[in-house]
């Protein structure tokens, strides 16, 4: 199931900058990479514009970006405590990337890079690896006590359960975001082929809501996982 018309792909074809449609069909479509770079470009340009002339009495864009980052920082302190503020750049970057990726779906001719399992898998694997790296860096080898539970003779039971639970985390993170975004796209395609006049609008409004909610859930789960690696073992 391919996206019918993508703006950046059309632009690249017209300017002969990259692969043509036949080459793409042969080698495989990589629109999610293109639009992931487009999202990054949007975020970098926004950040550069907001920080050009920093002042104590902020202008409009700086005010807006500060409000957004303040919300993320408040959520971070509530969930992870004081030790968590060191991981604010990672979590805020992931959160803003997912937010802009999800919202790009509203523009006609743009596809959200999170509608592809590869982008979400990359983000979820990053979170998964960071959980364990942070845990080992914080606790050393005692990090393994997180997996064993409180009673020593239940270890052969607790260890496989904990390992399976940990392995289920990147799976559920990536699949949840992928299912929401790709499902929204598929539903929109079906509505547009059935009744294209005004009927897809409620679905698009729900799409905006889902974009924000899924960003929030991904960010919150990231904070909970990293906070769980940081906390003391019982």
């Amino acid at each position: 199931m391919n996206h019918p018309f993508l703006f950046l792909q059309w632009l690249v074809e017209k300017l002969h900058l990259g692969f043509s449609s036949e080459q793409l069909e042969h080698y495989g479509y990589f629109n999610h990479v293109t639009y992931a770079w487009a999202t990054m470009a949007i975020l970098v340009v926004l950040g550069w514009l907001a920080c050009r002339r920093l002042s104590t009495v902020p202008g409009k864009l700086q005010n807006f970006m500060e409000a957004v980052l303040e919300q993320i920082e408040r959520l971070l302190s509530d969930t992870m405590g004081k030790k968590g503020l060191a991981y604010f750049p990672l979590i805020a970057s992931i959160s803003l990337f997912i937010l802009v990726s999800n919202l790009i779906a509203l523009l006609p001719g743009f596809m959200p890079p999170t509608a592809n399992l590869n982008t979400n898998g990359a983000l979820a694997l990053t979170v998964f690896c960071m959980t364990h790296i942070i845990g080992v860096r914080e606790h050393g080898l005692k990090y393994l006590k997180h997996f064993t539970g409180p009673i020593w003779w239940l270890v052969p039971l607790m260890l496989p359960i904990e390992i399976i639970g940990h392995l289920a985390r990147p799976l559920s993170l990536s699949l949840r975001l992928f299912g929401n975004m790709a499902g929204h796209e598929i539903v929109l395609v079906i509505f547009l082929s059935l009744a294209p006049f005004l009927v897809p609008l409620p679905m698009m409004v729900m799409g905006v809501m889902i974009a924000f909610i899924q960003t929030f859930v991904f960010t919150l789960l990231t904070m909970i996982y990293i906070g769980g690696a940081l906390e003391e073992v019982h």
């Binding site: 699949l175 949840r176 299912g179």
Partner: protein
């Protein structure tokens, strides 16, 4: 019956059965959230936030079922194999 008929039946019935539990559980979550806000309107911010997180978690179970249905319908991994067997004239239609 055909392999592809069974695929369609499995996808649609699986989705319908998967949504039953999701709908009921989300109804319970919203019921508790509304009761909490009715008792204590000052805590409505925190209650609503927790409710939204809970709803997204429960929703993700329905999304897993949806993803499997879409895989069965659109990127079915056995289509080539079945078509090859059918063109060879073996019993599977």
């Amino acid at each position: 019956m055909d392999y592809f008929s069974w695929c369609v039946i499995a996808a649609s019935f699986g989705l319908a059965i998967g949504v039953i539990g999701t709908g009921y559980s989300q109804g319970l979550a919203i019921k508790s959230a509304v009761e909490g806000v009715a008792r204590n309107p000052g805590a409505s911010g925190k209650v609503l936030t927790t409710m939204l997180i809970g709803l997204a978690m429960i929703e993700s179970l329905a999304i897993y079922v949806f993803v499997v249905s879409m895989i069965i319908l659109f990127v079915n991994p056995f289509t080539e194999h079945v078509v090859k067997l059918a063109s060879m004239g073996v019993g599977v239609k």
